[in-house]
Amino acid sequence: MTSPDTSRVMHNIEGHAAFDVHWPWHGDRPLAPGLTTVIRVKNEARSMPRVLPGVLAATERVVVIDNQSTDGTAGISRSTAEQVGAADRLEVLEYPFDVSRCGLEHLWTPDRSVHSLAYFYNWSFAQVATQYSMKWDGDMVLTPEGIAILRDLGWQLSGDVLVTMPRHPLFVESDSVAYLDRGTANIEPYVFPMAAGYGHVKAFEWELRLHPENITRMRLPEGLCVELKYLDSDEFAHWTAPDSFAESTRTGRKRREWEVFHGLAEGRWRELGNIERIEAPDGVHVIDYVTEKWLPQAHRPVFAGAPSLNVRVGDLPIDVDAVPQPRPAIATGVEDPNAETEGAGDPRRSEIDGAATPTRASRPEEQAVEVTDALPDFSLRRLLLVAGSGRSGTSLLTTVVRELGVRVPQPEVRTDESNPLGFAESVWAVAFNDRLLNRELIEVSDARPEAWLETTRISMGPRPRQLLFAWLNAQFEQHDEIVIKDPRLSWFLGMWRAAGLRTGARPSFATMLRHPTQVVSSKSLRYPGPAGNTNRTAAWVNMMLFTERATRGSERVFISYDEVLEDWTRVIRPMGEKLDLAAITGATADDVRRVSTVIQPSLRGEHGGWSELGVAGVIRDLAEATWEQLLPMTDATQDTSTRAAALDSLRRDYTALLDEAEGIAMSTIDAAGPAPRPNDVFLVALEREAAAAMG
């Protein structure tokens, strides 16, 4: 079947002109960048207060399509959005037609009827005005990690990418008790580009969204989302009859759901296998407890049938001497985050929509994690991520913060003459980031805008994520406040933030600002290599604009390198207060004295203007414009939406400039690629003949 979206409008056979489908990609205005959530609901008033805050935090717009609810779903949706201060980003629309239930009723409904599930979906998604859309259900609740990941994707996605995500069924018995099913691996595509060729069509039991055959798929990790099933309600009301899904292999997931639902209702949960009974501590609703604490901390893989990730929780030994300096590469002894357990990285596994593999395979005893007791209080945990370009004083800032008592995970990268203060970098963190970067062949200062999506994609691997979480968790068992600094960190801010959230820590960001001419001249002096100053300047713009975007909306500070050198106390104190770092707010006079001996005016290093660097006009102007937008943000009140818009516009200009340069220089890029096999038989024969003749 071809996509129904080739013409501008799709009419319905009933002639309800107000409910014709006007495909947004055929509209007069180009679609805005970003991600919109579409939730179709019927009588989900009970769930909306838990479902909506997550998607409102994760995506720029949320469209709720209310299909004849009688329980006040629309009103509850609006009041929930108001409570989280997002009323302006929520749209509630009414779809006033009976929609065929899944199964036989769906099968016999024409796809151009307003009663068809496929038509309903097409109409619903036609309300989206952004370049990507996310299908959501009225019973799906995000974890903080899920929110963080989707927020990043909202600005990172470009081109034909399909995002799939596992979700975990959570059967809610009461406000304090629920059961999580580890026996179902339910992975579906949720995020789609908004373009022709992505329309909904009819399948046998339900609808299906089309996409091109060879689309890039990005699979999100487990533990981002639960799907609520209330044991006291009829969860199968939207089905014609349970018999409809009794036979087909396509409906295996539904059969497991049916089995678990009824098994739990009858109190037989132990017999079902792979069911976790979770009891929330007093005063906490079990859904909040599961999404905010239990699931983030729970053993991975969550799905009992997935191969083990073989991540050793606890101390991960590393060899400091094996880390070359100043650019640490591969330290022996660190577990390779790239090493995927066989089968785990195979995206085809259970990726077929809805074709779940119910399994009764029980987990080995040593893997079982008993987390039914209430988890400890993590409210004091802070993860400070120091971002920004290398040679911008990130070491200086981290050293100050460390001297005041925020912990740099040990051991540290050893100092050398290029950085007399020491790098204040954790060897483990550096080696971890470095391996992931190497995996996709991305340079520490890579100027390609598309490299951001590449690093996001590699950071979705379940093994690196679990490794990072396990390591970070072990660090937090010893210290409440931890600082991570590494010039590669900006590439993986999303993964580090998510790992921090899973440990229960509050992640925050400090971005160092130093004028690009100083950064570039310092880099050309310290790290001479194939990159010229133009490329270094471009890399600075790329790093700064995208770091700003990645930290937007989070707890963050921008710090001027020059101001730290001038009077660090004036800078660090407000930073500690803003990010709520006890080590800084509670620093003693002794601490301050000790730090003052470290910071000396001689640290002011290299200087030089643009003309000395020989950097071309356009990129120099962009670097200056970026600097002019970023520097005022050292004053937190300047972190405004107007400035964000200006930075977004600079980011678009930069991406366009790099696209143009790549287009012109494509011959050079091609020539750097693999050489064609020359017709050497021909040439060698000619050369031999000539040699013989010429003597």
Partner: protein
């Protein structure tokens, strides 16, 4: 085809050794170089044989000698340079691949071609290949050594049309930028390298509109006997050969996504080259302007290269990570039989039968196991 008058003159031995001329038809691909080579052939110039066979993209034939095409391809490939390469530095890379051995072969080939031409009583031959611009100094040198005049005839077509006409090579807007840059690179360097030769420039549209005035001028500029002595039969055949259906409307830059600076440079290049269509246009001022444009293009390209350095580094790293490709597919016992059959023989078997034969070999092998 024999020229009656000259056949008589040659036989009588009254004329001195006839002047040999080699006409190189240069210019970007999709600019009418095949049409021009065909016209020259109809007017009596000799096209070295055997030629690349005609196909659907050029039903009238390319006028390209197979050996020349093979040689150019092999050398470009050894230099790791694309036929439409936008790098100003690529010219030097190609030069370096031309060894004494290659020159020795070129000399021999050219002498043999002049001998074949003379058998048809022609002393003027056409060398045409869209890649020939990369090897202009080599060909000009070979002509001198063969005691022949080296003439060049460069076809001109508006860059927007060339870019639009070329089949999609890379996706998206990058493709158009790179093709535009490649056009500038090829045209400006071709002009520069032909400056000391007897040369002529022809706009594709002029050729299609009224080839007689164009070829008359070319004949005078290049001093070609074939054109000056063309018979009515020749002229009639050219009329039948030049396909008025090729006349197309000028498209302009609409729908082609190219950065403004690059487009301006392409337009200026087109304007300046247009001045060279008349002999009077060959002034120091025009040459100076073209030199300036070449410098401006080099600067623009190198600027883009610097900005795109991360992509270059990434491509380099990817290349280093790839294992070397095996030279031959891993072959089982029965496959090896196929390798014993000389390639020239295998190539004569129609593809459909070859596929069938291969399938039956695979079936047979499965059966044996």
């Amino acid at each position: 085809m024999p020229h009656d008058e000259r056949a008589v003159a040659g036989a009588s031995g009254e004329q001195p050794t006839p002047v040999r001329s080699m006409v190189v038809v240069a210019g970007s691909g999709r600019s009418g170089t095949s049409t021009m080579a065909g016209v020259l052939r109809q007017l009596g110039l000799y096209v070295p044989q055997p030629e690349v066979v005609a196909d659907s993209t050029n039903p009238l034939g390319f006028g390209e000698p197979q050996w020349v095409v093979d040689l150019h391809n092999a050398l470009l490939s050894r230099a790791h340079v694309h036929a439409s390469d936008a790098r100003p530095a690529a010219w030097h890379l190609v030069d370096q691949t031309v060894s004494d051995a290659i020159r020795w072969h070129l000399d021999r080939w050219l002498v043999a071609q002049f001998r074949d031409a003379l058998e048809a009583d022609v002393t003027e031959l056409v060398v045409k290949d869209p890649r020939v611009s990369w090897f202009l100094p080599t060909w000009i040198g070979a002509a001198h050594r063969a005691n022949a005049r080296a003439c060049t005839l460069t076809m001109l077509r508006p860059p927007a049309e060339v870019v639009a006409s070329k089949s999609t090579y890379y996706g998206g807007r990058m493709a158009d930028s790179n093709r535009t840059a490649a056009w500038i690179n090829m045209m400006l360097h071709t002009e520069y390298m032909t400056r000391d030769t007897t040369r002529s420039f022809v706009r594709y549209h002029d050729l299609l509109d009224d080839w007689t005035t164009v070829l008359y001028r070319v004949g005078q500029q290049l001093g070609l006997q074939g054109i000056e002595n063309a018979t009515t039969d020749n002229i009639r055949r050219v009329h039948q050969f030049v396909d008025p259906g090729l006349r197309r409307v000028t498209t302009g830059w609409d729908g082609i996504e190219v950065p403004e600076g690059l487009r301006e440079l392409a337009e200026e290049t087109w304007e300046e080259l247009g001045a060279l269509v008349t002999t009077e246009g060959e002034t120091d001022l025009v040459h100076k302007r073209l030199d300036d444009l070449r410098a401006a293009y080099t600067e623009l390209y190198e600027g883009a290269e610097l900005l795109a350095m991360s992509s270059v580094i990434a491509a380099r790293r990817r290349t280093r990570q790839q294992p070397p490709r095996p030279l031959e597919p891993p072959a089982g016992r029965l496959d090896k039989v196929a390798w014993l059959v000389p390639h020239s023989v295998r190539a004569r078997i129609p593809a459909r039968l070859r596929t069938k034969a291969r399938a039956s070999v695979i079936r047979l092998r499965r059966g044996l196991r």
